[in-house]
């Protein structure tokens, strides 16, 4: 669905939109949801730095302990939570994830964020919106809308974790 150059252009556009919509990005904190959301947050921060020379505080927010499906499977290993030193109080926090699907991860992230402090506002940036929301959650920045069937899978690959950049639409699960 996206190859490496296309993915790079999409992240460029998202960084521009972020700067535009946040009036220059002065009080923005980027928090990625591990693992690929964290890498995407760092990439957005790098682009903003390149475009405007602005250093945006960037971190990582693990939502495992806040998930609503915890009781339905075996406990999972935790991912990294790393909040920038100045915290989130009064900031415009932009949550970053690779794929937006049911919206349940974002709900968990909002709960986790509430325990860290009180942001001025919270926005959501996703590389892919594949539809099928189960909660009233909507993204502020979307890299690419990919309408999918529930049986299909979306694979976001990033060079940091997967060796190369790509977004793939997987075969319908059997």
């Amino acid at each position: 669905m996206l190859d490496a150059p296309a993915l790079s252009r999409v992240v460029d556009r998202m960084a521009h939109e972020l700067l535009e919509k946040t009036g220059g990005g002065a009080d923005v904190v980027l928090l990625g949801i591990p693992t690929r959301g964290t890498h995407l947050a760092r990439r957005l921060a790098q682009r903003v730095q390149a475009f405007e020379g602005l250093t945006v505080p960037t971190g990582s927010l693990d939502v495992t302990l806040y998930r609503d499906d915890l009781r339905m499977k075996s406990p999972r290993a935790l991912e990294e939570t790393d909040v920038p030193a100045d915290g989130v109080d009064g900031k415009l926090v932009v949550l970053v994830d690779d794929v937006l699907f049911s919206g349940r991860t974002v709900r968990a992230a909002l709960d986790a964020l509430a325990d860290l402090g009180r942001p001025r506002a919270v926005q959501l940036a996703v590389l892919v919106d594949r539809g099928h929301r189960e909660l009233p959650i909507r993204p502020d920045y979307v890299g690419k809308n990919i309408p999918t069937s529930l049986r299909e899978t979306i694979h976001v690959q990033l060079s940091e974790t997967d060796g190369a950049d790509a977004v793939l639409l997987g075969p319908a699960a059997s």
Partner: protein, 312 residues
Amino acid sequence: MNRHLLSAADLSLEDATLILDTAAELAELTERATVKKLPTLRGRTVVNLFFEDSTRTKTSFELAAKRLSADVINFAAKGSSVSKGETLKDTALTLEAMGSDAVVIRHSWSGAPVNLARIVRGSVVNAGDGTHEHPTQALLDAFTMRQKLGRLEGLKVTIVGDILHSRVARSNVLLLKTLGAEVTLVAPPTLLPTGVDTWPAEVSYDLDAVLPKSDVVMMLRVQRERMGAAYFPSAREYSRRYGLDVDRVRQLQDHTIVMHPGPMVRGMEIASEVADGLRSTIQDQVANGVSVRMAVLYLLLGGSESAIGSEQ
């Protein structure tokens, strides 16, 4: 399927590493990000069933469960139905009928947690049974070593003192073997258990010969309450040969840390200056105990089935 943490020997390398990694993230959350309450175990009930005096371990488990939003019931044997003659089995069944999801047990009988695990449906966590095992202490010790020295594989760990009566020593030997560290036990012959030659550890009677090679020195308390007879000539004699004083600390490598599971007897197995010194990790061990116990409770109770531990 609920599983139990009864012995450090039950933990595979994968289990132990998962606990330590989870504890590290939890420590980051609760200490650096100052999240004091996580919703993860909301609605779960943890019973602290302590038949033996303990302040540190009981408080640590209670705090760990509460930070994960579990409900905690503290059941002290003194002044309870146990003093009226109730058996361990009946106590356990009563608590279970009240809906407990996990029982954290401390008992003076070696093997009490294993027996309990055969009776109750929930998870059982051994918080120290007689002179047998204390697995969460070993986990928090390993966590502290990894935190201070960056690794466990190949680490030279020296455990000094009353090995005979120490559940901490046994659990540490078993866990550190799994994690790839090399343990040397140092004690007078009278304070070594029979069969210690079958443990996966070296044994020495000469503390001064072992200290310069050690990355970690763990001092144990002489457990006089468990001693019926004299195991050494005098406290002064013991202290002179097996106590860690300022002169002995000078033999240590620069990076070597000094540990003690507490409670310590200052001036006996460890000098005050050493216990309060820069190498001492005694306070870190207490703080890390909460994170490690949070990790154990999360991995046992957080999902539909346990991610760690043994079946019984």
